[in-house]
Symmetry: C2
Subunit: 432 residues, 2 copies
């Protein structure tokens, strides 16, 4: 297998790294056109359009009567899960919830020296829509990761939409949704489901924010309804950057690279090694282990197309590469990994030390597995309780406090030629 290898000390390294990372999601104008039409139709015709698209794309006899999954059906999906699965889901859910609870922001206020009370009120979003892909890419773990933080925030109604190709439901997904505390599950998907959540139909309640991953139609629809509702990030292909000092078992590192690569041909797995010989050891492990894996074809395509080995001579080089990439997942498989972690400025999640493979974080460590991709960790954060809370500024001026502030407001308002602002402030001046 041919995986690109770079040397961080070579003169053309910056350009080679940029080429390795380059990812331009081609905008498809025919997709834009289709999605825009679907949104317009659902906005205008509600359920009628939603049902017709669902019949056409998902190929089952969707009707207003059979679109919603009854709560008893969710409960029964949960009850019928193999013990092993329900136990594992429960462990994961408890840990995700416990971590999320630390993120919950509280309201606060203070009284200034003039007697004015200033504060910030934190409230949950009222209604949230969670998109869950159907078919092959239906992941119960993602159901937990998307619903639980909303639940912890105190969202009143969590509506999950999921396509059911040929009417088939995924029992693990339903069970996970039940465990996470979903309020309503509706069997619709694609751009039509996003449109329904954004504008509301007879069956689908209009929500305030839509989260969750989906294909290009779903992502495009989310972008288009952004502003009408809130959305989470638009995710690019998943990526991992592993930094290793050469002292971890090379089989472990190979398998950690595989675990990212198996998602998808476009996924990116990169190893930065401080030991040049270790790269060869990992290559040998890859050769040995790849044939043992079910998804070896996907892994091979991903590693050859977008994978990479980088030899870095120094810790400084390695840290600088990590901060430059701002990876979604960063594994620090080195001695004194905690110290390394302190120097990382940009990453979605940091997996610290040889005993913290990404896979543990993907399922049950506690932190969310919905993370910023493609370098967007420079400015965005993992999905969290804060995505389901909003803030309102609270201003309560006392009579003397308002009077004391009125001069300042008036001067600044007149500086901006906004006289009504100035007068509105001046009216509150005592003897003004």
């Amino acid at each position: 297998m041919n995986i690109q290898t770079l040397n961080a000390s070579s003169t053309d390294f910056d350009q080679s790294l940029a080429d390795l990372l380059a990812w331009d999601d081609v905008e498809d104008s025919s997709v834009n056109q289709t999605v825009s039409e679907i949104i317009q139709a659902v906005r205008q015709h509600g359920d009628a359009a939603l049902l017709s698209y669902t019949q056409e794309f998902d190929q089952w006899e969707a009707s207003a009567d059979n679109l919603v999954v009854e709560q008893e059906q969710l409960a029964s999906a949960w009850d019928q899960l193999p013990d092993e699965h329900s136990k594992a889901l429960k462990v994961a859910a408890d840990r995700i919830r416990h971590y999320a609870e630390q993120q919950k922001a509280q309201s606060w206020d203070f009284v200034d020296e003039m007697g004015n009370t200033l504060g910030q009120k934190v409230t949950p979003l009222e209604r949230v829509g969670v998109y869950v892909p159907g078919g092959k890419a239906a992941y119960p773990s993602s159901v937990l990761m998307n619903i639980i933080p909303a639940k912890v925030a105190g969202v009143s109604q969590i509506v999950m939409v999921t396509p059911t190709p040929k009417g088939e439901l995924n029992a693990l997904v339903l069970g996970a949704a039940w465990l996470a505390g979903v309020d309503k599950v509706i069997k619709v998907g694609g751009a039509q489901a996003v449109a329904a959540l954004a504008y509301g139909t007879e069956t689908v309640p209009r929500v305030d924010k839509i989260v969750g991953p989906g294909n290009i139609f779903v992502a495009t629809a989310k972008k288009m309804v952004f502003g009408q509702v809130g959305i989470d990030m638009i995710a690019g292909p998943s990526e991992i950057l592993i930094v290793c000092d050469g002292k971890t078992n090379p089989d472990w590192i190979a398998m950690d690279l595989f675990s990212q690569a198996e998602h998808d041909e476009k996924a990116q797995s990169i190893l930065v090694s401080l030991d040049e010989g270790f790269i060869e050891e990992v290559k040998a492990s890859i050769k040995k282990l790849l044939p043992t894996l079910e998804r070896s074809q996907v892994i091979k395509a991903s590693l050859e197309g977008r994978g990479g080995f980088i030899y870095a001579e120094t810790k400084e080089q390695a840290i600088s590469i990590a901060n430059k990439i701002a990876p979604e997942h960063l594994e620090l498989s080195v001695d004194n990994a905690e110290q390394w972690a302190e120097e990382i400025e940009h990453a979605g999640a940091i997996f610290i030390g040889r005993y913290t493979p990404e896979a543990l974080g993907d399922y049950c460590a506690g932190p969310n597995h919905v993370l910023p991709t493609s370098g967007t960790a420079r400015f965005s954060s993992p999905l969290g309780v804060y995505d389901f809370q909003k803030r309102t500024s609270m201003i309560n001026c006392s009579k003397t406090g308002a009077s004391a502030l009125s001069d300042t407001a008036s001067i600044l308002a007149r500086g901006e030629a906004l006289t009504a602002h100035a007068k509105s402030a001046e009216y509150r001046k005592i003897n003004g």
Copy 2:
């Protein structure tokens, strides 16, 4: 003057209210086309394209040598401000900073019962771009409101861009930028400035997030580069909802309505009154006071086009209207306003009591005046320090902790047919 009046108890009220609020920012495909071309040109040709657009649109001899405002020029703008202005700006800046400091999130971590350390690291964005409109709509107060929270978050480099039509600089804006602690001011504006901030040119550093208001070209450009960089909200027309029990001086209420209406013909000022007769008193005040104002034409157009009076019989009706509108600014000009405020679920900012006009909040109360418009307070928040911070999940498993988690991860991964994930977890199992 003819301002719409609604009755909250009438049978068609919901529809009338929806009509009053209706606001659809028409997408202009020619604007989209122009902006898309500008972004491509700046991305490909850097300064050359940026300078050429600046010469064309702003009509001055922009060159790489005169594009950046020197720090001495900023300092001197500040020094030359009239005492009254610099004093008022300083009072405002101190209060904005003090409030913002309460918003600063801190990193945290905890150790679970298995000995794994889990946490969340909070870091500032590295570079932020602040767009400041030029010409008429250049507001020093907005400069403070956009820059200070970034500064409090600890952003390393704050780059302000502002167009200088015919090369003219606004001294109040420069002085405010100096006071707020800007790092670099560049004399470019429009879509070309947004493109330069998003992709970087020889003169303009690439930033991680772009904030600040602008015209339709700027807003469209911000939407287009979203994903490449972070952006703040895309603001619609500004709005105020005043709820009054009829016991406030009607002149005050009229002036508060004016203070929103004077921004712009599209601005929306609505009064909900619990006293039907009071609406007539406010109308009389409007008639009396309007001619005294410089911007009376704009105010008249705004109130006639988008303003409204609503008579509500009960407190419950009034609160329900406020929560339905989710206004940018909500004034509670009533007795026991604090109790009313507790029942408000959705608003950008709440101005509590008769002594808290919006104008005080616009300039110097402390909370940010950049607020969610057009009902987006349902899911978004005032601009704040949190917009300039990001979070990284930290996961540090102990040897025994990883071993304890590996079964759960392995079962869930196999449930999703992701075997490499499962094996990666299993490798960390003691005796596994």
